[in-house]
Homo-oligomer: 119 residues x 2
């Protein structure tokens, strides 16, 4: 069930490289990755889990609101992250020239089903 939604997100987004459903502890429930040259996308996701944990802690301390979405753009990749609940998030990675708007839309569209399946 999870991997199907993840694969849909990657394949329906131009430039889609991979998607992962992961806990803040860096352990993936499910994932779908296309092979990307010189890049271990799973390792990337694990590292970003650590960063999200920091952001979450910061948002909590500062009472700046519950974290919902984080995007990181580098000169190689776009990473879109959507928070599902207090334990899990879903991250979609695109090539830099991928379709950001479509990726964001698909993440929003698929998140409620992922969330429901987690509960």
């Amino acid at each position: 069930m999870f991997s199907e939604a993840l694969q849909t997100m990657v394949e329906e987004t131009r430039g889609g490289a991979g998607a992962v459903l992961m806990g803040y502890d860096g352990i993936a429930i499910d994932q779908f990755f296309k092979p990307v040259e010189d890049m271990d996308l799973q390792l990337v996701a694990v590292e970003y889990a650590n960063i999200l944990k920091e952001i979450k802690k910061t948002a909590d301390i500062l009472e700046s609101g519950r974290m919902e979405e984080v995007t990181i753009k580098t000169d190689r990749f776009l990473v879109l992250i959507r928070i599902l609940n207090d334990e899990y998030f879903v991250a979609l990675t695109l090539e830099r020239d991928g379709n950001f708007g479509k990726a964001r839309y698909l993440l929003m569209r698929e998140s409620p089903a992922l969330k429901a399946a987690l509960d």
Copy 2:
């Protein structure tokens, strides 16, 4: 010179709450903040400097490319961050229902001038 560009970004964006030009060490060169209830936006910026440092380190280690832009959406705020160089970034904070696209455009438009003034 800096504060003028920062003020422009905040005032020309619907929902604009504050902008800051800051080093990764959390020390601001310049800033412009509107008063926001229950929220120390400068403290928020300092905390986010720490997070950026983590993201930068991660991107370097993973060779996932040079970090350019980070956005964080909570249920209260939108924070858009644009990396200027290895030492400084500019962060623009909006109310949650602010104009994200305009904010992103203004950050892109003003960044080269800020960058040039820093060098």
